[in-house]
């Protein structure tokens, strides 16, 4: 029931809750997407950014063209089908650019206690790391860290935000344990 619809339209509605994103989106539209540096991570899925515009092998290439994050169902740590596609792309990209180490950040939504969510975020990061390992990413290139519910990206009081916050983000470099 809590699966998110990843179609551009619903994502647009979610992002529309954040006036800053709307302003940025409009500014980018007006500027003809000239300034790619300030694009939000998932702008590629909004169709505002021509694929391949980022330098191949760059951090921007990874976040925009591959997708740096996956989402989870409530209280779940299983990797959904849509997330598997993202992680498959991540594994292919990491195989092509073997110099990158990564940190997988696990996050939880705010509908839980602080301590449990730290553990839940860790479990999500571990499940993501395990999946990437099964797709050939060497374990010694991967670290994990959990931020629990302390670092939300979407702020509102319903599932449209909570589903954005239940996530694992693959960060090139980064520092974890």
């Amino acid at each position: 029931m809590s699966r998110i619809d990843t179609s551009a339209m619903s994502r647009m509605q979610i992002l529309a809750r954040n006036p800053a994103v709307i302003a940025l989106t409009l500014a980018l539209a007006l500027a003809g997407c000239a300034n790619k540096k300030n694009l939000p991570n998932n702008a590629g899925e909004l169709g505002l950014n021509g694929a391949g515009a980022a330098t191949p092998g760059s951090t921007q290439d990874f976040t925009v063209n591959v997708g740096d994050r996956i989402f989870f169902d409530t209280d779940s740590t299983s990797i959904r089908a849509d997330a598997q596609q993202t992680l498959d792309r991540q594994a292919q990209w990491l195989a092509r650019y073997p110099n990158y180490a990564i940190t997988v950040e696990g996050h939880a939504d705010e509908r839980g206690t602080r301590e449990y969510n730290l553990a839940l975020g860790a479990r999500r990061a571990a499940a993501t790391k395990e999946y990437l390992a099964s797709r050939g990413v060497p374990a010694n290139r991967m670290k994990t860290i959990s931020y629990g519910k302390e670092r939300p990206v979407a702020v509102c009081d319903d599932i449209s935000c909570w589903s954005q916050n239940r996530r694992a983000v693959t960060v090139l470099g980064g520092a974890g344990m």
Binding site: R114, L120, P152, D157, G174
Partner: protein
């Protein structure tokens, strides 16, 4: 950072004042039985302490505020007072206090000693029996005047309820500021009434779940310093910090053992979290749980014999109890929804918890065998109870729906007396100190 003088012992000397009208038999007319839920607050008159400056009035104001917030006392408005106390060492005109229905009366005096210390004297009177219930005096440095007021409030509370007070205590908490997506968090400490707030860490790293040592001026907490989320110890007097143990994964959810010699916490390894203790003297670590689940939020019973904790080994978070060596792990929560953050009462009789059910977050208590569950407060998001040292009042944090951040609240065991504890910015993860020495 803290100045060490802040924690230096306050009381140099304390003594009993000789009772007035000692011939009058002490018929315990004025008393409150806390065990009878929803007690009618006792009308009490707290007069301005005599002094040659405003300190006397300030001290009586702090005393009255403590007593009022407890929910057990109803301080009478000063404008109703008839008698003006001229000599606190003489018996008051009891008729003047009975007529305004003051069942108890507090009088006192503040004087400056030759060495610069304050002398604070107070007497508590039973107006209907026409007798003194207690009288004490304290000596302290002038900057500690709020503590003296809290100590006097504790003495009044104890005399009338028969229970230890909790006013001369502090609360360590997480002070939060900034928007939710870029929230900054600092450890902070304050008096239990929200005064004298001081920051203990800077805003650089995420800090969470501070807990007081039961025996020392020491706090254990979790910090993301260096992007290595781990449990730390912080000496409050010196500001000295150290990592607790050298574990291979994230350590979190720490708490002291009742004797202050161990820290119990969760260690995360891959997807699992299990409960460990570390002995602070021998540095030996002991593993207490071993499941492919999340085991966290451990809390000792006050006698150290058992440990309550949270586990999702049964599918969703529930409260379990085990012996101190990890044996006999038994689930005790069976209601609707999930149960988290068990905290054993300092009296040993109850376990407080956070309950998540029907889209609401509640604070409640149950007996250590899981029976007698009572919800004290419920709403969009209430979390993380901590006990006052007398086991009669809880503090927790609340996040309302909408923008904004968490705030601290206190509630008594009846559930009727719920109050916000105001902090300079958002506040979460409160942890009550023991009664100060």
């Amino acid at each position: 950072m803290i100045k060490s003088s802040f924690f230096r012992a306050v009381m140099v000397a304390a003594g009993m004042l000789t009772a007035f009208m000692a011939a009058t038999p002490a018929n315990a007319v004025v008393e409150i039985n806390i065990n009878k839920g929803n007690v009618q607050p006792l009308p009490i008159a707290v007069t301005d302490f005599l002094s040659n400056n405003e300190l006397g009035a300030q001290i009586s104001q702090v005393i009255a505020a403590d007593l009022q917030r407890s929910g057990l006392f109803a301080p009478i408005n000063k404008s109703a007072f008839i008698e003006k106390i001229a000599d606190p060492n003489k018996a008051p005109r009891f008729e003047d206090w009975k007529v305004i229905n003051a069942q108890a009366l507090v009088t006192g005096r503040i004087t400056r000693e030759g060495d610069g210390r304050l002398r604070a004297e107070f007497r508590l009177w039973d107006t209907f029996a026409g007798s003194q219930m207690t009288g004490q005096q304290f000596f302290t440095q002038p900057e500690n005047w709020r503590r003296v007021a809290h100590i006097i409030a504790d003495a009044i509370y104890k005399q009338i309820t028969g229970e230890n007070g909790y006013f001369d205590t502090r609360v360590v908490f997480v002070s939060e500021s900034g928007p939710k997506t870029a929230r900054q968090r600092q450890l902070a400490i304050m008096d239990q009434d929200g005064f004298n707030v001081r920051m203990l860490t800077n805003t650089k790293d995420i800090v969470l779940t501070p807990r007081f040592s039961p025996s020392r001026q020491e706090v254990t907490y979790m910090s993301f310093e260096g992007n290595q989320p781990r449990v730390y110890l912080l000496q409050l007097e010196t500001g000295q910090r150290e990592v607790v143990g050298n574990f291979p994964g994230m350590t979190f959810s720490p708490r002291f053992s009742p004797d202050g010699q161990k820290v119990i916490m969760s260690l995360q390894q891959e997807g699992n979290s299990n409960i460990y203790t570390m002995d602070l003297r021998s540095r030996t670590t002991t593993r207490l749980t071993s499941t492919a689940a999340i085991d966290t939020s451990p809390s000792y019973a006050p006698d150290g014999g058992r440990i309550a904790f949270e586990s999702d080994r049964g599918g969703r978070p529930q409260i379990y109890v085990m012996n101190a060596d990890g044996s006999g792990q038994t689930r005790i929560s069976f209601g609707d929804g999930s149960y988290s953050t068990p905290v054993w009462s300092p009296r040993g009789d109850l376990i407080a918890f956070t309950k998540q059910s029907g889209g609401k977050f509640s604070i409640g208590v149950m007996k250590p065998d899981g029976s007698g569950e009572r919800i004290l407060t419920s709403g969009f998001h209430n979390e993380g109870p901590t006990w006052a040292p007398n086991g009669r009042v809880l503090m927790f944090f609340r996040q309302n729906a909408g923008a904004g951040g968490p705030q601290l609240y206190s509630i008594d065991l009846t559930g009727y007396n719920e109050l916000q504890v105001k902090t300079p910015s958002y506040g979460s993860d409160p942890a009550w100190s023991p009664l100060l020495e």
